[in-house]
């Protein structure tokens, strides 16, 4: 997950274009890491997470490209709805619901760090409400929760969007790696019992891609 230099023209607010760019950036990252995600899912799941994410975010990219959104959230709601209607599996409703929740919390033409922090929190709440998983269960939450905490902490400390998103992406990757020694208690990997230990969770891995894409979109270097 390398970071390419992106101009930071609008460092302290997200606009409708950037929301769209985020979706596209996730799609690009998923495209690049598709086989890796599927491989991770092959070890402790059913070998479809890469294909699932790819199908969903390709469709979401197409859907948001066709829009003329008025609010930051509009594109994200569309992306979420598209994920729900194209992905299937566990990740479809979980990511779909999260993006819809994030989008609904961004019903303004632009949004700042605090507002984005609240929106990301709504996303996590949606995942937890649907999936009933807790941190430590070896799911996407183990990347999402620390990412959100880092973002909130930076936002509270007055950091700009790029800095907050970069901190979130870094924390997501740490969280992603922390899933390796965990024993899964939710999702398909839980069927393996102790044998799920020693493998990185595919959903936590895609969540790290989502936050890295956000950091890139918001201008991190």
């Amino acid at each position: 997950m390398t970071t390419s230099p992106v101009p930071t023209m609008n460092g302290d607010s997200v606009d409708t274009d950037r929301a769209r760019t985020w979706v596209q950036a996730i799609a690009a990252a998923v495209d690049q890491h598709k086989d890796h995600l599927t491989q991770l899912d092959s070890a402790i799941g059913d070998a479809d997470h890469g294909t699932n994410m790819h199908r969903g975010f390709s469709a979401a990219t197409t859907a948001v490209a066709a829009m003329e959104p008025d609010t930051v959230g509009a594109a994200l709601i569309t992306a979420g709805t598209t994920l729900i209607s194209t992905v299937g599996g566990a990740s479809g409703p979980l990511y779909g619901g999260a993006f819809r929740a994030i989008g609904k919390a961004l019903d303004t033409p632009t949004a700042g760090t605090q507002q984005l922090a609240a929106a990301l929190a709504a996303g996590l709440a949606s995942i937890q409400k649907l999936g009933a998983a807790a941190p430590g269960d070896k799911t996407m939450i183990d990347a999402y929760a620390p990412a959100l905490a880092a973002f909130q902490q930076q936002a509270g400390a007055g950091a700009d969007l790029a800095a907050a998103a970069t901190a979130a992406a870094d924390a997501a990757e740490v969280g992603m790696r922390s899933t390796t020694p965990m024993q899964a208690r939710k999702g398909r990997a839980s069927y393996l019992g102790a044998r799920s230990i020693g493998h990185q969770d595919p959903g936590a891995t895609s969540t790290a891609l989502v936050f890295r894409a956000l950091a890139e979109t918001l201008g991190a270097r």
Partner: protein
């Protein structure tokens, strides 16, 4: 990867088109990916809808027809279908008496069917949901995803389908489906991994003298790996897991399925059934009805699952009721 396909992305659409060509008595909605009965939507009949990832054929599409499912929604291979599909299915088959969603207990299936149920309710369709969770290889607990749904799905679809065909109401059909699930337990063993079209590689490597014990139907490894053993001992392991969870008494009547996971020769399934029948007879348990064959598969996995349902008289008589689907057919 060696498969009779054109492209991994095209498998589902092309298979659906093949199903449509092979079974003109079914309706196949290619756009929404819904397989339904030719006479679906009959007024007053409770409609049964099931679905799940593809790769388990004949489940579920092969069980659409008189006396069983009204519609099936196949997802991508090993991927739950999406709510829109399920909604389209519910709309296609609702005859005003409501729709029963038969959902195998996997996070993806549960969440997507849950969303579909909400959408259907918004459309004015009454939906009940039954979760199938019969796989005793997975420990049940409120802290986990719970047990997987596997072979018992066939029993639930057959028996609840027969009751719906007889005109019972939604609550009664849902209740019977739950009773059948509650009375059923399964356990599976695999000798090889399966290969999904998208991943192109077997899900795991298994040495020539080992087997995966307690596997699911999605190519995941099982609860543990053991040395390969004779059929008699494998059956003893499976039955032991099943009967520990649900003890059976002398004289209890059962419906038993010995199911191939896709790559197991039928002659071996009969060898397995022979052991099951002998072991149950030893315990005085009656195998009143049985299925031996490929019903809930996991692509090309060489493996077998055992499902035992303690069946009461109602269940047995509904089991015997006519069924006319591509994969299960009897009565008139």
């Amino acid at each position: 990867m060696k498969k009779f396909i054109n492209a991994p992305e095209a498998v589902l659409a092309e298979a659906l088109s093949g199903i449509a060509a092979a079974h003109p008595e079914l309706k196949v909605d290619a756009e929404n990916k819904v397989i339904s009965r030719g006479d679906a939507g009959r007024r007053g009949k409770v409609a049964l809808v099931s679905g799940g990832g593809s790769g388990h054929e004949p489940l579920h599409g092969g069980f659409v027809g008189l006396g069983m499912l009204d519609a099936a929604c196949p997802g991508e291979v090993f991927t739950s279908p999406v709510p829109g599909q399920m909604l389209a299915a519910a709309q296609a088959v609702d005859g005003g008496a409501g729709v029963l969603f038969i959902v195998k207990n996997y996070t993806g299936d549960v969440l997507n069917f849950q969303m579909a149920a909400e959408l259907a309710a918004e459309e004015g369709i009454t939906v009940e949901t039954v979760l199938v969770d019969d796989d005793v290889a997975v420990k049940d607990s409120t802290w986990t995803a719970g047990r997987r749904g596997t072979g018992a799905t066939v029993f639930v679809e057959k028996i609840a389908g027969a009751l719906a065909e007889q005109g019972a109401g939604l609550a009664a059909v849902a209740e019977m489906a739950k009773r059948v699930n509650a009375a059923s337990r399964s356990f599976a063993v695999a000798l090889t991994a399966c290969t999904t079209p998208a991943s192109g590689k077997p899900g795991f490597d298994l040495p020539e003298d080992e087997m995966e014990v307690g596997v699911g139907i999605h190519g995941e490894p099982g609860r543990r790996r053991e040395k390969l053993r004779p059929a008699k001992e494998i059956v003893a392991t499976a039955l032991d897991a099943i009967l520990t969870d649900q003890p059976l008494d002398t004289g209890d009547e059962t419906i038993v399925m010995v199911n191939g996971l896709g790559g197991t020769p039928l002659i071996e399934l009969y060898v397995v059934f022979n052991e099951v029948a002998a072991a149950l007879a030893d315990k005085g348990v009656v195998v009143a009805r049985n299925l031996v064959g490929n019903y809930v598969t996991s692509l090309d996995m060489a493996g077998a699952s055992l499902t035992v349902c303690r069946a009461d008289a109602d269940m047995l008589s509904l089991w015997d009721a006519p069924v006319n689907t591509p994969a299960l057919r009897w009565g008139s």
